[in-house]
């Protein structure tokens, strides 16, 4: 029975992840006074791309084709580590969040190398910026998870989110609030959303993540887009599990609440994207350093308690 539940939540995450960008787009359309794309636009896009014939630059090698494959494989593996509504997934072990961070690192490594394989100035630029932001985002994210481990006294994702309850919010509200803020900033930067990056831009010079995948087409691009939605789901789930310590007691209602909250986070991203402008590139590290400071403060508060 338990394994069925785990399988169910894994499949739910894997299948619902492409809805999140749809939600973001609808919220942005609402703010702009448009009707916007259908909620399930990404599903249509993925379907269309999978059937297309790709075009490859004559400069590229196998590295270019391997990038999307390694990227999507590591993100699906990461999903198999991610608790869902406070309940562990297939893999739950001591230090699993470290493994998760390094899996995200592997996906980034593969994407960046694939971008450099095209020999394009724009893709090199995107790759360079991606690695630059990662240098600031990774320590912030790591420190946030370390603080969470200290709050709950648990060294695994499932343990942390299982031990978080409403009570923790009553006793350690400042710590958790800081962590949520830090995770949200990291989410925005890691998923190339405004204010770190603009997914809708059409000017190659200003793009980061989109610039890295300019040359990908067909099934390769489908893998990349799907992987991106999984990454958004991953960070969203961490925020939801922090903000919304479960527990109505029943798994079904916990899960329903969790899903609702996921769409809430997506809506939040959409609102941020509608109301604030994109930062200048040189300012993005400072935004991430803010996230780092939030995480560090949370950890200091917790160690002082």
């Amino acid at each position: 029975m338990e394994i069925v539940k785990t399988l169910f939540q894994f499949l739910a995450a894997a299948l619902l992840a492409p809805l999140l960008p749809g939600v973001i787009n609808r919220v942005k359309a609402f703010f702009a006074g448009r009707r916007g794309q259908p909620l399930g636009q990404l599903y249509y896009d993925l379907f269309k791309l999978l059937l297309k014939t790709p075009v490859y630059s004559r400069t590229t090698t196998w590295v270019f084709k391997a990038g999307p494959i390694i990227g999507v494989a590591s993100l699906v593996t990461a999903l198999a580590l991610l608790p869902f509504a406070g309940r562990p997934s297939f893999f739950a072990f001591e230090g699993d969040f470290i493994f998760l961070i390094y899996l995200l690192g592997l996906a980034r490594f593969a994407t960046v190398l694939a971008a450099l394989d095209t020999g394009s100035a724009f893709e090199g630029m995107g790759a360079s910026r991606e690695m630059q932001f990662a240098v600031f985002a990774e320590p912030a994210f790591f420190l946030g998870l370390a603080a969470l481990a200290r709050v709950t006294g648990q060294p695994s994702l499932a343990g942390m989110f299982g031990a978080l309850t409403g009570d923790t919010w009553r006793t350690a509200a400042p710590v958790l609030a800081l962590l949520t803020a830090s995770f949200f900033i990291v989410l925005l930067a890691e998923n190339s959303r405004v204010p770190a990056d603009d997914p809708n831009t059409h000017l190659e010079l200003t793009m980061i993540h989109e610039a890295m995948v300019l040359d990908h087409s067909g099934p390769d691009l489908a893998f990349i887009l799907y992987g991106a939605s999984l990454k958004l789901w991953l960070f969203g789930a961490l925020i939801c599990s922090t903000v919304l310590p479960r527990h109505t007691g029943s798994w079904a209602s916990d899960s329903a609440l969790f899903l609702l909250m996921m769409f809430g986070v997506a809506a939040g991203v959409g609102i941020v994207e509608s109301v604030i402008a994109r930062l200048r590139l040189t300012k993005v590290p400072f935004m991430l350093i803010t996230a780092f400071a939030f995480s560090a403060l949370a950890l200091i508060f917790q160690m002082g308690r």
């Binding site: 014939t53 790709p54 390094y102 690192g105 450099l116 020999g119 985002a137 990774e138």
Partner: protein
Amino acid sequence: MLLVLLSLVLLLASSMLALSLSRNPSRAQDAGAYGAVLASLCGLLPAGRVLFTGRTDTLSLPWPVPLGSLTFNLDPLAAFFLVPVFLLTGLSAVYGVDYLKSYAGRKPLGLAWAAFNTLTAAMVLVFTAANAVLFMLGWELMAAASFLLVLFEHEKAQARRAAFIYLTAGGTGALMLLAAFSLLGQASPSLDYSAFAPLTGHAASAVFLLALCGFGLKAGFIPLHVWLPEAHPAAPSQVSAVMSGIMIKTGVYGIIRVLGFLTPWQEWWGWTLLVLGAVSCLLGALFALAQHELKRVLAYSSIENVGIILMALGLGAVAAVNGAPVMAALAFAGALLHIFNHSLFKGLLFMGAGAVLHAAGTAELEALGGLGKRMPRTALFFLAGSAAACALPPFNGFAGEFLVYLGAFKSINYSGAPALAGVIAGLSLAAAGALAAAAFTRAAGAAFLGEPRTERAARTHEAGPLMLFAMGALALLCLLAGLAGPLLLLPLGSALASAFGLPAALEAVRASAIPLVYISAAGLLLLLLAGIAVARRRAFLGDKKPAAGLTWDCGYAAPSPRMQYGASSFAQPLTDFFQPVLRKIGQYPVISEYFPAKASFSTEAQAVFYNSVYLPVGARIRDLAFRFSWIQHGRLQIYIMYIVVTLIALLLWKL
């Protein structure tokens, strides 16, 4: 143990043979390489047996060395270091046969092989010696042999400079070690390790500091690293692989041994190791990002990894002193595992860089590019090594760092010193990991991907079969060691027990098998998913033929290789941000006319510590030394008189 002696004999004999065959380069090559490979096979057996049984193997020969006995001791700690020695030197020798071929006739290959095999023998001696005199003998032999190898291309001024800096560093280190061993053996009749009397208080601290500096000069952590980025790139590539992969670990081994002599530890020792390690791993990764030459990138990455190892040792020491044995055991286990893993992937990476140097005639990143098309296998192996160096699963670099992280996260149950140490260690690891990922994507991307930036790079060829074999074997080992994490815990446990004797903590290390099993399973899942993705992609493509075109360049139809992002542009956002630390020197064009024609710009990564610390201090010391130059004038008789006077003075003092 007899087999280890046999491999020592094989090494020394083959180096003599190679030297005597100098006239005939190809036979000298054969003699050197066969000797090294046979010695490796011979030596791996006893080392593996000691690791898996956990029993120490001792051999005393009835031939007294001054101040002790001629005793070899193959305990699990020594065996743990010997395994990478034999693995790496054996494979490097195979690689070297192809690599050195093009030097035949121009260079004394017999001498190079003699020095290479002597270097291996010296390392075996260093790890198995059970006596300080024997140890120092091996230590100096190692320094001399590697000095010769750094001088291999002595017609280059850079190599001569590197060798000189290396010699100075080695000599200074050896002096400090002599002082450390004399202090250790002060109260005992001999300099056998087993006879060392325990020291306490300031004497113990003095030994710790002397050993830290003496061994640190070999291990190459910051700020004692200045020779490393000069000497490692200067040596032939298979020698760089051995030097970076395992020779610098002799310094780490020495620190671990001395810590073993100096129980009980003082807390500030642990903090010193922790802080030095954290600084080394962060700055090492950052400097690696700023280098323009592939082998220098790798040398700085070695500094980073030695920093990680040192930091883990410091974390363990702080935890052990503060009564957190589980945390200590995990940190120590992580340090040891990372020593093993680093030797594999750094050996592989240096060999890959050597293949590039061999094929393209240069390892300057801005002159390379597009080698992935021309040497696809080398590119594959180098990328695998880069992923391992960035500690990315499923490769082996991850396992050791993961154990250190586990140790650091044990600190959530503590407050005070262990908690702080855990946070510093974990955070430094995470930040250094992100910087290393930037450094390696940059290096691998600039060398192997995109379009060739020069004519020369466009005309490269794939590496020779023996070079490919050695690199392929190491790449495979990197993957297997990454997936077989739990299996490595048994030898790790016995090495740990013989080094630190934390019996209760061994349970903790065994318990860490559970996460490692999960990690291996998740690594296999990752490979499986990638396989599925490949299959699905093929199914979707069906019989459609992908079109070939130009790289998209914003609609521009004639992109040239010069328009690519280069290595310096890739690193520029980060190197600019960290400019206060990096202090790179740049020359930027000044635009003064309305229609500027040609402009050029250059940046140079300078050796910050060498230029702003060592050069001024060195100049001061030299000035001071010149005042005493009248003592040294080259007349042998007077030197002998000095010795006689000293002996008489000592005799009078003892009376």
